[in-house]
Symmetry: C2
Subunit: 279 residues, 2 copies
DNA sequence: TAGCAACTTGAATCTACCG
DNA sequence: CCGGTAGATTCAAGTTGCT
């Protein structure tokens, strides 16, 4: 199903990502952001791929994703391995190694620190408060709009910049160090800095019908960072459609795949009715 | 060299961990906390193992560590892979897979969020603000004193790490004798909760002679969690000795190995003179 | 003794250049 | 073309010293 507007359009595909991806043109996608059904999770709705089978299930999909991604595009994979028999399962790190054999570059691993992680107590482990956000690329050079996600500078700025000391201007000459002082004067008037590879944010626990815990700000952040308006964003496991709505809000085109028919129908309904599409 | 006191003792070994570990009795260690020289780092003092050679260098040591650890003991490995040719290097995740073949259980992966990470700007990457704290065990059942690291409800947890800086600790010790215990007492009326597997804290950057990147609160936290007083803590890569001092402060015995002779000599000096040993 | 202000340094990583 | 090194870039702590 396609929903078109003057500024952007959404393509929704009902079915298994493994097969539906064949309908997507090669090198047509600028960004893939997805949170696949975790191993052993969501067994009710997705049939719960077992941890031992996870890599074999995911790798053919990763191959298709590589085909549809533009050379300058980026693939963000949100995943976390469960604890099985007292151990963290190794299927995620095995996927990294196998995807590199497919030709992917493992560019970076962001950490999502979940500030309101799931409660619970176990004798041999604490609550799991982080997930991986694996970044893969096809080339070393890819599109990245760093200034789009800058954040306010920390408190150190106020103290440091109030009075520029003499050593701030001469640090580079007097010391062998990093030379930060040489450029401190350039900081006058700056109030934004670049973020790090650790993202802090809560999960959205208020979602009514969906078990998807992908918070809106997460795909939004990567869409700002890795795409321009008019680019195309793909989510092969849409779930509640968080990535799709974030992309449309940002004026990007969307391709979304969902195999669970009730989810698909509700997404179609919401997208059609959504005021943002202004059909 | 051995320094003995009524309550605890420290054994310092000068040499390469690969060979010095042979002098340590089998199943004699309750906790291993260490931060080995990272690939391509500290080339001046440690010879700078290349990323591609890192696994081959580390795995024999991991085998020895498995021998000396008690069945109920824990091994905490602090490590982070560098970016090489635009990619995160895979040697760390390969080590996880290889250590499992040695018989280790990969129980958990903690994240250390470094709040004051190294500055810098690059076209394809943000600043690296986290490191891995890999937990390995020999058995599914191991010693874990969860209540020893409980924290009050609320955001005091973040401040706790800040309060454990060197000056704050010595200030408290001079007044009370056990500054940390005193602090905890102040919060006894409040509700306490267990922490998560994400640790927040800065690196210690003000140190004069040593680039002690291992902040004191980090080994201290794991010593509280995984050992009792009188237990033995091993650090095969002592460096500035942070783990050793934290263990002695906590009334644990220490076995430490250091191959860089100037570091070893200074450590011996500091341990002998340290007031905490009361020789 | 609390608070402010100056000062210092860090497991980084990219590109360019040289042999 | 491969390997090594130098130069450029950039935050957010902790630490010290003074009022």
């Amino acid at each position: 199903m396609t929903i078109a507007t003057p500024n952007h359009n959404a393509v929704l595909l009902l079915g298994d990502a493994r097969f539906e991806l064949a309908k997507v043109a090669s090198e047509s996608v600028d960004l893939i952001v997805t949170s696949p059904p975790y191993a052993n999770q969501r067994a009710n709705t997705y049939g719960g791929v077992k941890p031992a089978d996870y890599a074999a299930w995911f790798l053919p999909i990763a191959g298709e994703l590589q085909r549809v991604l533009k050379p300058t595009g980026t693939f963000i994979l949100n995943v976390k391995e469960p604890a099985v028999n007292g151990e963290r399962h190794t299927h995620v790190i095995e996927i990294i190694l196998e995807m590199r054999k497919q030709g992917w570059l493992w560019t970076e691993e962001f950490v999502w620190h979940k500030k309101n992680c799931y409660p619970g107590k176990w004798p041999n482990r604490f609550r799991d408060a982080w997930e991986r956000l694996l970044q893969f690329n096809k080339q070393r050079k890819f599109k990245m709009n760093q200034q789009a996600v800058m954040v306010p500078v920390g408190d150190w700025y106020d103290n440091r910049m109030r009075n520029l000391s003499e050593t701030d201007r001469t640090r580079d000459e007097s010391k062998v160090g990093s030379g930060f002082g040489k450029k401190v004067e350039n900081w006058l008037g700056r109030d934004m800095v670049y973020p790090t590879n650790v993202l802090h944010g809560a999960t959205e626990c208020g979602n009514r019908n969906h078990s998807a815990v992908f918070p809106y700000w997460l795909p939004e952040w990567f869409i700002d960072l890795f795409t321009d308006p008019g680019d195309t964003v793909l989510d092969p496991f849409m779930g509640s459609g968080t990535t799709a709505f974030a992309a449309l809000d940002k004026g990007r085109n969307v391709i979304g795949i969902e195999m669970h028919e009730p989810y698909y129908n509700e997404l179609k309904q919401r997208l059609t009715q959504d005021a943002r599409l202004a059909i």
